[in-house]
């Protein structure tokens, strides 16, 4: 169906949730635009300023092991990434807490082994959301990602878990959750 094209930022292993949103913002309201202003501030020095990451204009993050790990459950992490224009994160593995939050917000966290080895920051990628294929337009190399589960796709299609549940409450099908 859809193909999404855009610039990627390539991370290493262990990009931690508490570096994506640094400590002084943990008690801030969850707000995509607000959380985006300082998102990734603790991950790299170049992002440690207002709109530092947003101004990079990235569409994808390509990470390796345990993206957004470190045991913080705060949703500012996913909200901030979405606010910064990120449309998918590819990694070898994700932290459980943020993987959940991403599904609930409708931001695809896609398992795609070794993509980080075939990309540099700034490369244009093309992601085929249906087949899961990720093409690096600079090198021409293609990578295969794990397809999105039906429940996850349903939630994303309705704009996140809140809308998904809201719609079920409205149409009376909420009791059918199984």
């Amino acid at each position: 169906m859809a193909k999404i094209t855009g610039k990627c930022w390539v991370a290493s292993d262990y990009v931690m949730a508490y570096d994506i949103i640094i400590q002084r913002f943990w008690t801030s309201p969850i707000d995509k635009a607000e959380n985006a202003k300082w998102v990734m501030a603790g991950v790299a020095e170049e992002f440690n300023r207002e709109n530092g990451f947003v101004e990079g204009g990235f569409t994808f993050i390509v990470a390796a092991h345990n993206f957004a790990g470190g045991g913080k459950s705060i949703e500012h992490v996913v909200a901030g990434l979405m606010g910064a224009g990120i449309q998918a994160v590819f990694a070898n593995s994700f932290s459980r807490l943020q993987f959940r939050n991403a599904i609930n917000y409708g931001l695809p966290f896609i398992t795609c082994r070794d993509l980080a080895k075939g990309c540099q920051t700034g490369d244009e990628l093309e992601w085929d959301t249906e087949s899961g294929t990720v093409l690096n337009l600079r090198t021409g190399e293609a990578f295969h990602s794990v397809p999105v589960a039906p429940f996850v796709a349903d939630v994303a299609a309705e704009g996140g878990l809140m809308n998904f549940i809201r719609n079920k409450i409205a149409d009376g099908s909420i009791h059918e959750l199984h």
Binding site: S93, R96, I165, L177
Partner: protein, 424 residues
């Protein structure tokens, strides 16, 4: 019947299924939902935005003030006022606010809000603690909490199970925390246990009291696991008797259940263990770091702020003085813990030794208040995380260890093996 692990059984039982398999996504009935002062207001707001006015069960949405109390500044005082207002508006039956407070995970277990065979969730990462009583305890975000407050349900991916068989006999001054740190060193922080259930079994687990089981399950989140669990037994039964808010039944893994991996640890060979600054899995036996100086000592948190922890400290510090170059802060995990430690005289012993006692809260563990670390501080902590900046300044170092090691070391002002305490 296909054999199942305890976690699979709990997921099946509470989702109206005969069986579940790892990887399956299921909507599960939750027994209780915990939220606390710094995320709770947002949970209620999100919940209201679903178009629902009343929570699914006013006795099963548990509200706790722990991160921000007592408020150290106007911002937090104002947040707390809004929090109190929103809890009141929703007529929540159990609200553990300042005066009746405690760290949420301690409250959930000691007040009987989590039960064997049930699923409980909380908006804080250490909700894994609930596995100590044989519940599936999970940390969730604001969105999941809002949905569960409205529906009494939460979606889960059924996790693969990994079994830890803990054999042998606990040695003097070796605590559950030492085993936690030992496993952290062995399996690595957020390593290949990501998303797994860790099931703790074996004679050394059966010998462990509830406080120790809570410590062990608590830190499974820092291994990257989904949950940690100890099957209910006579210890669980005795602990829950009189406090359990609801009925429950014994539940256990089938003997032929499938595990992705089984690890054995002989606790006889585990000694006091220390995690070096910045990385939780950079652990060493205490002998390797004996003599290293530090200036702050901290014992409290949902990991190690219980009566049993203070008992060991009081035994070590009885009649001794904390070194003048060390500031020790001790924070009981709840008012109930505080009162019990007071009655038993442990707090008197600690104060006489030169420790400062603070009112129950998450305290400096989250770097928010009550003794945060400044530039140049070297902290010896019985908490759960030691990454840079965790307790305040990024220019502080945090060693993590057991309450026994903290107490013994505080006397000398340098890291000390608690097994040597009788020798000087």
């Amino acid at each position: 019947m296909i054999p199942m692990t305890i976690t699979e059984k709990i997921m099946a039982l509470n989702s109206g299924r005969d069986k579940v398999v790892p990887g399956q996504l299921v909507w599960v009935d939750v027994h209780s939902i915990m939220t606390m002062d710094y995320l709770g207001e947002q949970c209620f707001k999100q919940f209201r935005s679903l178009g629902v006015n009343e929570v699914f069960d006013k006795e099963r949405v548990i509200c706790v003030s722990d991160h921000l109390v007592p408020p150290p500044n106007e911002q937090f005082a104002t947040m707390l006022n809004r929090w109190r207002q929103i809890v009141k508006e929703h007529e929540i039956a159990y609200f553990y606010d300042l005066g009746r407070q405690g760290i949420a995970h301690q409250i959930m277990v000691e007040q009987g809000h989590v039960l064997p065979g049930k699923v409980s969730i909380g908006t804080d990462s250490h909700a894994n603690t609930y596995g100590a009583v044989g519940a599936v305890g999970n940390a969730i975000g604001v969105t999941d909490a809002a949905v569960a407050m409205a529906t009494g349900k939460c979606w889960f991916r059924v996790p693969e199970s990994v079994k830890f068989v803990i054999k042998g006999t606990w040695q003097p001054y070796v605590m559950a925390k030492d085993l936690s740190l030992h496993i952290m060193g062995m399996m690595h922080w957020n390593g290949h246990l990501i998303y797994k259930t860790l099931e703790f079994t074996g004679e050394a687990i059966e010998a462990l009291d509830m406080a120790g089981r809570m410590t062990l399950c608590n830190m499974t989140v820092d291994l990257g696991a989904k949950n940690g669990i100890v099957a209910p037994d006579a210890v669980t039964q005795a602990y829950l008797s009189g406090v359990a808010k609801g009925d429950w039944e014994m539940i256990a893994s089938d003997p032929d259940a499938h595990y992705d991996a089984v690890y054995e640890v002989d606790v006889t060979n585990v000694g006091p263990t220390v995690a070096l600054p910045d990385k939780l899995d950079d652990t060493v036996p205490v002998e390797k770091v004996v003599g290293r100086k530090f200036n702050k000592a901290f014992v409290g948190t949902c990991t190690n702020g219980r009566v049993e922890d203070f008992a060991v400290m009081a035994e070590i510090l009885e009649g001794k003085q904390i070194h003048r170059d060390v500031n020790m802060i001790v924070v009981p995990a709840s008012q109930a813990v505080y009162l019990e430690a007071l009655k038993r005289g442990y707090l008197q012993t600690l104060v006489e030794a030169g420790a400062a006692i603070d009112t129950p809260s998450c305290a400096a563990c989250a770097g928010i208040h009550t003794g945060v670390a400044g530039d140049g501080d070297i902290v010896l902590s019985a908490g759960n995380r030691n990454m840079k900046g965790r307790m305040g300044s990024k220019n502080a170092q945090i060693y993590l260890t057991s309450p026994a090691v903290v107490a013994a070391s505080a006397i000398r002002g340098e890291i000390t093996d608690p097994r040597e305490t009788g020798t000087y």
